[in-house]
């Protein structure tokens, strides 16, 4: 049985800790991948935008809806449907739940990088 000294163990673990922390910091600092939002009307793709590249927010005018495109998030800001469920859903920034306006057949969804919260359930 080969003995491993405590000092060596601590050195290995400290190295791992430092590497992980550096990795976490780098992941924060480095630019993120694309966050692509797609807007569909009646099944047709009418607009795509990389939300991470949106510098100034703009409003996308659709026949019955208005979509607010911002940096990192997207939302339905106006709709002429009776219930306004799509507007009430607010801003989305991940792929977990797309915004759907059923009466006007508009779907806004985010593709690409998904967050961990999509499956963790907490």
């Amino acid at each position: 049985m080969k003995k491993v000294s405590n000092r060596r163990l601590i050195a290995i673990l400290a190295a791992l800790l430092v590497i992980s922390l550096a990795w976490m910091v780098l992941a924060r600092v480095l630019p993120r991948g694309a966050l692509i939002a797609e807007v569909y009307v009646d099944g047709r793709l009418v607009h795509t935008a990389d939300l991470n590249k949106v510098r100034e927010a703009y409003v996308l005018e659709l026949p019955h809806n208005k979509v607010l495109v911002e940096h990192g998030q997207i939302s339905m800001c106006e709709a002429d449907c009776p219930d306004h469920l799509c507007v009430k859903q607010g801003k989305i920034s991940g792929s977990a739940y797309p915004i759907v306006c059923l009466p006007n057949k508009v779907i806004i969804r985010i593709v690409g990088k998904s967050g961990v919260d999509a499956v963790s359930g907490r």
Partner: protein, 166 residues
């Protein structure tokens, strides 16, 4: 398998299961989802050092399967088994080179293996490698959580050594 060992295994499984279920009831959420103390791992470690690797494996898998049945969270079974299998393998390897005064380190390595096993399953289930962005967070968590549970196991083992469990 003699009766003493069977009884010891059963007793340790029950202790692990109880700890597991009590822990699941405490809403102890750290800053990141999916990170928990894993207190029932203390029992697995104790079993490995006081009885044998085989007994530890039995106690671990009995706890995982019954734990998922009793907590009603069968979706998590896949994750638990992957994490459990990987952490068990690493625990076996580490415990043959590390003494019983280094259980804290065995625990850290097995906690890391556990987290990596769960990440692998998550990547397979989601068919996305994006979850690996989570790796450093889980390594850091494993170091602290593993050291805590490992020290608990270590102090218990050093005191229970003279018990005749086998």
């Amino acid at each position: 398998m003699n009766i003493r060992r069977l009884t010891s295994d059963a007793l340790l499984s029950v202790i692990a299961l109880t700890i597991f279920i009590v822990e699941a009831q405490i809403p102890l959420t750290f800053a990141v989802p999916g990170v928990k103390l894993g207190l029932s791992n203390i029992v697995t470690l104790i079993t490995m050092y006081l009885l044998s690797k085989k007994d530890a494996g039995a106690v671990l898998f009995i706890r995982i399967i019954l734990g998922s049945v009793f907590s009603g969270n069968t979706m998590a079974l896949l994750y638990s088994i992957a994490g459990g299998a990987l952490s068990y393998a690493v625990m076996c390897l580490a415990s043959s080179t590390l003494s019983e005064k280094q259980i804290w380190a065995v625990s850290i390595f097995s906690a890391m293996a556990h987290n990596m096993g769960q990440l692998l399953v998550a990547a397979l289930v989601m068919r996305s490698s994006a979850v690996f962005a989570y790796t450093p967070v889980l390594i850091v968590a494993a170091i602290f959580v593993g050291a805590f549970t490992g020290l608990c196991a270590q102090y218990t083992v050093l005191r229970l050594k003279n018990l005749r469990l086998k």
